[in-house]
Symmetry: C2
Subunit: 319 residues, 2 copies
């Protein structure tokens, strides 16, 4: 029997594991809890980058080569934005733009973010609409750099994540309440999975939502385990600035740093098997009850599915 | 010496004469007063079809063959709108969509419609930003058909202007005040021109804005003349439903119908020269002081410029 899984996930790396799990599990058995901290407003539109990366990846619509956005995308509107003095530092494709325009229209008509995004999922082919928003309230990650506080996307995309991050803050977290769907998904989960996403800016914002940690703690009292995949392989982030951010936070760019960044979260952590030596095992031992080696780099569809199955197997072994 | 001209104009036909006058007059001598009645909201965006047709035409960006929208346009967002259940009956191209998105963002930030649209004009190459909004307040044309009242664009585009129009109403007209720019343009005009646009749904909405008729009346007390071009040639509208609408309103589909639809407005009316016979002259005599024959069909750029020059000549002859 496959377990009911609640997956906490950020964008690219999270979406790959989400895709593997989505295919490995029967329909309806996976709930994906998307990081809300990357969401932002541009052109007056509400943009949910991590949600949309998850959506495009699961729907098979993502651009594999570019690594973000939609395949077969066109860029006419972006070019026009440049001509008319509108912001064009965030590369919105034409098909992607239509999604944000429609989402914003539905939100302005009073729609709830979770409902609106699930409707988009259904329209793009995900019948069970598995991607949930951690919260319907605004929660926005911002980072302190040597030049001061920056909103997340101007730092991540606008400045290509280059300015060093001295501090991370989740604006609105104290007022953001967990959505009913996420609360129910965690309450009914038989397994909680933490995707190989940036622990500081992809997983931490989800945990910062009031009610998420509590729901996980409650699930644990029922014996539900939390299993994660380290996003750090051979000392480096597979994608994105997680390695630099961990070091800047005084943590090591290794599974140990990941474990310390999310203290007490993991019952089991999957780490790249070639990294798994006695030193690492010894360092992780006081932090995480159980460490498992696996091939964690998801180069292609097969690797996504394999890692998902390996993870489910590891969870089953522990039960 | 060229006169300072204030031109009242709707979309396609109005834009052609506007283009001719824009090229015939020194920069800064033409103010174009756009019909606000076609403006509407779709996808939560503010769309100004007549303004944008004027803008695209004067900037040389319009699609000549299609007759509306931008040349070299792409349609990715529209296709996406269809897929995700968003309205796709109004064909927004990708570059066009970017304009509406940016305009709406600027309006939401507190921009005034006139300022926002003039900024778009400057960005797209019209240094003197000659196109003014009759009003910054919402004024929306709606039409009563045998099936009841319809908003303008759902009737005009959605139903291809097919349902018969029994009545026209300009919602918001009683609260819409003339913009300061339009008031100044009419006050300082040496000539007022009425474009060959639909009298009932392109010119009448402009005149319905509180202060426009008064400004024209004041200009007239200074000896300023109002010269128009009939949009009806050989009994038919060159484009659009003006002919059917005039007949449905109990008027003839002829320059006489145009004159009766806008009573007391014209000092001079240019009518297609091949239509100008003794009967028409006799019918128009009690309605309009002066009727002049001209080639009014603007097939190409030369014809636009020629008609503009012919009109300025006719105005000068009368002075």
């Amino acid at each position: 029997m496959s377990p009911r899984v609640a997956l906490l996930a950020g964008g690219v790396g999270g979406a790959k594991l989400a895709d593997g799990l989505y295919r490995a599990l029967p329909q309806g058995e996976l709930s994906i809890i998307a990081n809300p901290g990357d969401d932002f407003e541009l052109h007056g539109l509400t943009i949910c980058p991590d949600h949309d990366t998850l959506l495009y990846t699961l729907a098979g619509l993502g651009d594999r080569e570019r690594g973000w956005g939609l395949a077969g995308e066109s860029w006419s509107a972006l070019e026009q934005f440049g001509k008319i003095g509108a912001p064009d530092w965030f590369r919105l494709g034409d098909r992607d733009l239509a999604i944000h325009v429609h989402r914003t229209a539905l939100l302005r008509r009073g729609g709830r973010l979770t409902d609106v995004n699930r409707e988009l999922q259904r329209r793009l082919g995900l019948a069970d609409a598995p991607i949930l928003m951690a919260t319907d309230d605004p929660l926005r990650t911002r980072v302190r750099t040597p030049d001061g506080w920056m909103e997340f996307q101007p730092w991540f995309v606008g400045a290509q994540a280059k300015p060093e991050v001295l501090e991370v803050e989740f604006v609105g977290a104290e007022r953001a309440r967990v959505s009913a769907e996420v609360s129910a998904a965690i309450r009914s989960a038989e397994l909680i999975v933490i995707a190989p996403s940036n622990p500081l800016i992809s997983i931490a914002p989800i945990l910062a939502v009031k009610g998420v940690r509590e729901a996980i703690a409650t699930a644990r009292t029922r014996g539900v385990r939390v299993i994660g995949v380290s996003p750090i392989v051979a000392g480096k982030a597979i994608k994105g600035p997680a390695d630099r951010m961990l070091r800047a936070a005084g943590l090591s760019s290794s599974p140990v740093g990941v474990a310390r960044a999310l203290p007490g979260l993991f019952d089991t952590l999957l780490v790249e098997e070639s990294d798994l030596n006695d030193t690492l095992i010894a360092e992780l031992a006081p932090l995480i009850p159980r460490v498992v080696g696996a091939k964690t780099v998801m180069h292609d569809d097969d690797a996504r599915l394999s890692l998902a199955r390996r993870l489910l197997q590891a969870a089953s072994d522990a039960a």
